[in-house]
């Protein structure tokens, strides 16, 4: 099912949570809404589910306007952040609930619950009460309950947040596998970039009640449409530089770099260049170096190392991130610095990508 969101607005009292959301989620697509806490992700999902009504705008399922349709008549499913499993009931009864509501015969329910349990590999826990299950098992039961009635859309509100990293990884893969099998249009909201990038066909980055960027994960990461998105998608500080515009090229003042702009830039505009720490490469010093620098700070962060490198002769410092810990540049070491010019991100004064 195709879902269209048209100029959706929602406020609570004086606080505007969503301020004009426009998006089209294609049939069978895995669509992730990525945003920080309080950005309106859950509100958006609740509006699509029918648990709340927008103040303005329309929600269209295929060609049907469902804006005023109550949740029970939308035939979508939702996995809540706390899963909302029914306590005092077994896994079987939880999974069977939507079928019982639809007056499916007990024989058919048994058959379909068994099939769903096989799909989610939970055959052995069906007769256990949900409050005796582990986090991962509860998660699978919630997914089974949401999928068993073949909903038109599958909505997930940060369902993996409370789980430990290993289990999250496993369930993420499981979720992707099931979505590919079932081909149900899926909207997944999360604040976790790894999750969003791993799962999504397309990502929408939500901040301050608006979508800043919508697109394929690789494009959104590589060429974010706004500075806000670039900053949000980075887990380490970015390197910011001011630029002068000279015709169709941009001069990055602090580094003396000249970059060709993709399109003509109005001379009066100020431009900001952003270089991600992971895009800068450090090498042994040689005569071909773009720049030379000195390691001023070394900060190992798990499977990667953050460096602060002073660019010799430029009196500016760069944050550099290198993956892997097999080679760590020591403090005070002279290094060669390479910056791929095609990875430099350029933004105008309003923070929009050039």
């Amino acid at each position: 099912m195709r879902i269209a969101l048209e100029r959706i607005e929602k406020s609570y009292g004086n606080r505007a949570v969503l301020r004009g959301i426009d998006a089209v989620i294609e049939s069978g697509e895995f669509f992730c809404v990525l945003g920080p806490s309080g950005s309106g992700k859950t509100t958006l999902l609740r509006l699509i589910a029918g648990l709340e009504r927008p103040d303005r705008g329309r929600i269209i399922f295929d060609d049907e306007d469902v804006t005023d349709l109550p949740a029970r008549d939308r035939n979508v499913s939702m996995v809540f952040q706390n899963l909302a499993l029914f306590p005092n009931m077994t896994a079987y009864e939880n999974i069977a609930f939507p079928l019982r509501v639809r007056r499916v015969s007990e024989g058919e329910i048994r058959k379909r619950v068994k099939e769903m349990a096989e799909l989610l590999r939970i055959e052995g826990i069906l007769n256990r009460r949900v409050d005796t299950l582990s986090g991962g098992e509860r998660q699978r039961v919630a997914l089974a309950r949401a999928l068993i009635y073949e909903p038109r859309a599958f909505l997930l509100d940060e369902p993996l947040t409370a789980l430990e990293p290993q289990l999250r990884r496993e369930l993420r893969e499981e979720l992707k596998r099931i979505q590919r099998l079932t081909k149900i249009t899926t909207i997944y909201v999360t604040h976790d970039q790894t999750e969003a990038f791993a799962l999504a066909d397309r990502i929408a980055v939500l901040g301050g009640g608006v979508f800043h960027d919508i697109g394929e994960p690789i494009r959104v990461y590589a060429r974010p449409k706004t500075l806000w998105v670039a900053e949000f998608l980075s887990d380490s500080p970015l390197n910011f530089f001011t630029c002068n515009i000279e015709g169709n090229s941009i001069l990055v003042n602090e580094l003396g770099l000249r970059i060709s702009a993709a399109m003509p830039i109005r001379g009066a505009e100020r431009v900001k260049a952003v270089i991600r720490p992971e895009d800068i490469k450090l090498e042994n010093v040689s005569n071909n170096d773009m720049f030379q620098g000195e390691i001023k700070r070394v900060e190992p962060v798990g499977d990667r190392v953050l460096y602060e490198v002073e660019v010799i002769s430029r009196r500016t410092r760069l944050i550099v991130k290198e993956l892997g810990t097999e080679r760590i540049w020591p403090l005070g070491m002279k290094v060669g610095i390479r910056i791929p010019l095609d990875r430099v991100l350029l933004f105008n004064n309003q923070g929009n990508a050039l």
Binding site: L51, R72, M78, A84, L85, F86, P87, N88, F97, V101
Partner: protein, 289 residues
């Protein structure tokens, strides 16, 4: 052990001894007297032997068990129904809760009178007879009035089960209601497939059932009120729960062997516990409780 712990242990032990152990021990001692009163006869189990061959006692046990089961079912169903009606409405919920709670404040004797033949059944009978042309219902028939007594008891205690049910329903996370709605459930589906199983399996409700089972097994007031309406003043009447039988034995001078009454009360206590334990075992089976 600290001095404060010694003091508290002493206080608890004393209060237990005075409040529970002494009355029980003394009643048990009385029940063992073969002469009927302190200072008469020997010590032995003759009263217990006599009791178990006494048809009056066996009859009363049967009445008490029947009364307990009927009252428990009636009060539970009425309470559950009231709770569900309350969950269906969105406005005036507190007022309705207050109205439904009123029976809890009514004296059991008054409840017996309210549901008595003259108060209700004369009118019901007249209505049935005049409007439908059916014969009068004989409310002095035990098969009729025992269920009516249980209905009175059920009405009286239904608010307890209503409040218990509401507590259990209100404890359900809000997202559970929303999840049910998203899955397509209407109010009646939520009631049938979510509330009823949740209430039936909640430990709160099971504990209430166990406690009220003990209470109903010892029921006195409503059977007492009904014993006058249906002129069941003789021993072994159909109103004679064990408590009422004890009362009758005590007020009839010729039937006043204190040791015999003490033996009955000990058995009443043991049976009440046994009934409660049985219900507990049934309800909490598989709960790990």
């Amino acid at each position: 052990m600290k001095a404060s712990e010694v003091v508290w242990t002493a206080v608890i032990a004393t209060s237990l001894a005075v409040g529970s152990i002494f009355p029980l021990a003394y009643t048990f001692y009385l029940s063992l007297l073969t002469g009927g009163r302190p200072g008469q006869g020997d010590i032995g189990f003759i009263n217990y032997a006599r009791m178990f061959s006494d048809p009056k006692i066996n009859w009363s046990i049967a009445i008490s068990v029947t009364y307990t089961v009927l009252s428990l079912i009636t009060s539970f169903l009425l309470g559950l129904a009231s709770a569900f009606i309350i969950t269906l409405i969105s406005r005036g919920r507190r007022l309705l809760e207050a109205v439904y709670t009123i029976p809890l404040s009514v004296s059991p004797i008054i409840a017996g009178i309210v549901w008595s033949p003259s108060a209700v059944w004369d009118d019901v009978n007249s209505l049935i007879h005049v409007s439908l042309g059916l014969p009068f219902i004989d409310v002095t028939d035990p098969l009729i009035y025992i269920p009516i007594m249980a209905l009175a008891e059920g009405w009286l205690w239904s608010p307890l089960f209503m409040l218990g049910s509401l507590v259990v329903i209100n404890e359900l996370p809000y997202e559970c209601h929303e999840a049910a709605a998203v899955m397509g459930a209407r109010k009646r589906d939520i009631m049938r497939f979510l509330y009823i199983p949740t209430v039936l399996r909640s430990k709160t409700m099971k504990m209430l059932l166990v406690v009220k089972a003990i209470d109903f097994f010892r029921a006195f007031e409503i059977p007492f009120a009904w014993s006058s309406w249906v002129r069941a003043t003789e021993l072994s009447a159909a109103t004679d729960t064990l408590s009422l039988l004890l009362f009758k034995l005590l007020i009839i001078p010729s039937e006043l062997p204190v040791s015999y009454v003490a033996a009955i009360s000990i058995v009443l206590m043991v049976l009440a516990f046994a009934v409660a334990l049985t219900i507990y075992q049934i309800l909490f089976r598989g709960d790990g409780a």
